[in-house]
Subunit: 415 residues, 2 copies
């Protein structure tokens, strides 16, 4: 077994070959990676079968579903890689040129990050997603998969590396850490100077642990306690459509809504409609967790202390009556994870108060929070949704996986 430090060193040594590779060469490699993924479908499914049987009875059904691969899922992974090949190359773009009075020409230029590490959990498709995005962004990629998905990840990485080799690129641009104990995660977090960026993809515990312990810079992704505030000047039908969509179209993702805040002036009229839409009329009704004021108006569970600070990722919605937009903003400031928050109102001034004061990656006026997504934002892809303020906020596209440097050309200037 290769040690984690050995694998990190291999990735670091490969980074110059990938950071200087032409767009054509990177795209050729991506297409070959997709081909080899399909070609190795049997081996990948066999490996996945081993992971699945080892986890039977240990993982929940939801987790088992995340872990499971199929011919279709592998085809989707290959399709995802080919889509990355079609995206514009972020490396080398000149972001700004400044010509100084002394004749210096300063170009702020997008360059590759170097080595990007991803620590993830049970979804094997993250392997090909992350590797293809890092590659297109000119960086070597260190993958540290969860133990339960490790055999699947190994088979996928083996196929991807065949693609790199066939394209004539250094295979070590993509390495999978072999040790799946806590030790290897700690070694990656300590590898400042070798790893340039760490992206944890998984549950809140994993992310917290990386943010708290990593000496390598971290991009925090994914936790979304998203709010929909229904203002007194809201169009009720629009509000109901947005809330149902934001809550129920895909509750397991981070851009789904967890909390609905309702202006007290409309609570008596609006809440019964909300109950009808989300409970009575639905085949799989949403469980409403109600604040004291809303309990007086509609039926539902009494909200507990933690219900306004929980990412349910389920058919559950916390509901609270607030006095006005400022009260909504104050509630969000205390409880939001800074992901995506929405106001529904026909009043432009009220909307402006909300949009300027809510300090989240995405703030919406009259639209569903579900749009916070690289594809929906027109970035073509994403490595996750950043909920931090440094470096990148919201969807992490290829540009956000790069850094920049200043290239200065002179003819002997001194200061």
């Amino acid at each position: 077994m290769a040690s984690t430090m050995e694998l990190l060193a291999l990735a670091k040594n490969s980074r110059q070959s990938i950071s200087l590779a032409t767009t054509e060469k990177k795209n050729e490699a991506l297409c070959l990676m997709a081909d080899y993924l399909i070609e190795n479908t049997d081996a990948i499914l066999q490996a996945n079968e081993l992971d699945m049987s080892a986890s039977k009875g240990i993982l929940s059904e939801v987790m088992m579903d995340r872990l499971a691969l199929s011919v279709q899922r592998i085809e989707d992974m290959a399709k995802g890689i080919r889509e990355v090949a079609l995206l514009p190359d972020p490396v080398g773009a000149v972001m700004r040129t400044v010509s100084r009075p002394n004749g210096l020409v300063i170009e702020k230029t997008s360059v590759a990050m170097g080595v990007i590490a991803i620590i993830y959990e049970s979804r094997p498709n993250v392997t090909s997603d992350a590797a293809s995005l890092a590659l297109k962004a000119g960086s070597a990629c260190v993958l540290r998969s969860g133990k339960e998905a490790h055999k699947s990840s190994e088979a996928i990485v083996c196929a991807l590396r065949k693609g790199l080799k066939a394209a004539g690129l250094d295979e070590n641009c993509i390495v999978l850490i072999e040790d799946t104990t806590r030790q290897s995660a700690n070694e990656i977090m300590a590898a400042a100077g070798i790893v340039d960026l760490l992206i944890p993809r998984g549950g809140a515990g994993l992310i917290r642990s990386c943010v708290d312990n990593s000496a390598v810079p971290v991009l925090e992704t994914g936790t979304g306690i998203c709010h929909i505030y229904v203002d007194k000047d809201a169009d009720f039908d629009m509000a109901l459509d947005i809330i149902e969509n934001a809550k129920a179209s895909r509750p397991s993702v981070c851009n789904s809504a967890e909390v609905c805040l309702v202006n007290k002036e409309i609570a008596n009229d609006f809440l019964p409609l909300l109950h009808e839409r989300l409970v009575t009329k639905r085949e799989n009704p949403i469980e409403l967790r109600l604040c004291e004021a809303s309990q007086k108006i509609i039926e539902g569970t009494a909200a507990g202390e933690k219900d306004f600070d929980t990412e349910f990722l389920d058919y559950i919605l916390a509901v609270k009556v607030v006095s006005d937009v400022r009260d909504a903003v104050a509630h969000i400031a205390l409880h939001s994870t800074g992901h995506s928050d929405v106001i529904v109102t026909a009043n432009g001034e009220t909307a402006q108060i909300f949009l300027s004061r809510v300090d989240s990656a995405a703030v919406y006026h009259n639209a569903s929070s579900r749009f916070t997504d690289g594809g929906q934002f027109g970035l073509g892809c994403e490595m996750g949704i950043s909920t931090q303020k440094l470096h990148a906020r919201g969807p992490l596209g290829l540009e956000e996986l790069c850094t920049y440097k200043y290239i200065i050309r002179g003819n002997g200037q001194i200061r």
Copy 2:
């Protein structure tokens, strides 16, 4: 004495008033801050006198000079604040607008960071520099000064807060932490969710400690082991001018050069000229620390193991003979701090190899590393030079002290 946590909470509560303040209001406050600084010159000098006498015999002469204030230095600080008032306001700039086929309009908008903390050492002028830049960038500012400069910083902050108050802004946009023990630095580093960004300004030890221990995102600034590579195709006079300027014009700053790499094909001709320029002809000669090969050509100290990994910040230059540009790049990859590195050559192809392969914040062709500076880059100011890759690289201007958010306007879109 107010506790550190109390002061952090005050800063956090003030942040909305400053993030939403108009450009005019912020500029008014800055001008008043400059006025009050001048008006309180006597009080500031008295406080500084107390700091100075407490440090006598303890701090080195260089450190005592950094600590010392004078009427002139206070005037310079006020001038610095007025210059910040003249800079464009970075907050609210729309960086990109995307109109999606479904009618959503997505604006990527520059917004204030929130609360910026600066941990610094003995230079009291950092107090007004940092506070004025944070204020213009729309953020509240938490200052944690070194113990030896604390009384001076206290008097300066007192004057600055009078300016804030006179402009009708919340005084707590600028707070000085009262506790100067290690404890307060630890509390700031642990204050994720309250402090949005931590910038350490000082020696390598302070910076390392913040990077290793902070749960709050850190911008790493300042350590510069900068290289000048003299290629075989270099114009010797240009190379000598650049080296002397980069080394000797101000050795104490981070963009000064510490290492000169010389191509072996020209070493016999160039090194004697270098020795003449930096040693024989200078009133205060530079100490050369020579690799084995260069010792055979010129006089100087034999370089020890650490001389190629030391930020001398002094009239000392390490000299090494390398075989070619790739060897120079390889040496820099191992020893550079990623600040500023220079190639001197008349050969465009060789320059391109260097510029694309050296992974530093600033890479120069035929110019002195001393230009890595916010003012010289046309940013008007700086909060330091970032040597990390995340968020910002090179000079930290006002834009780099901001974050962004996506503002999305719709008319009922759901996904």
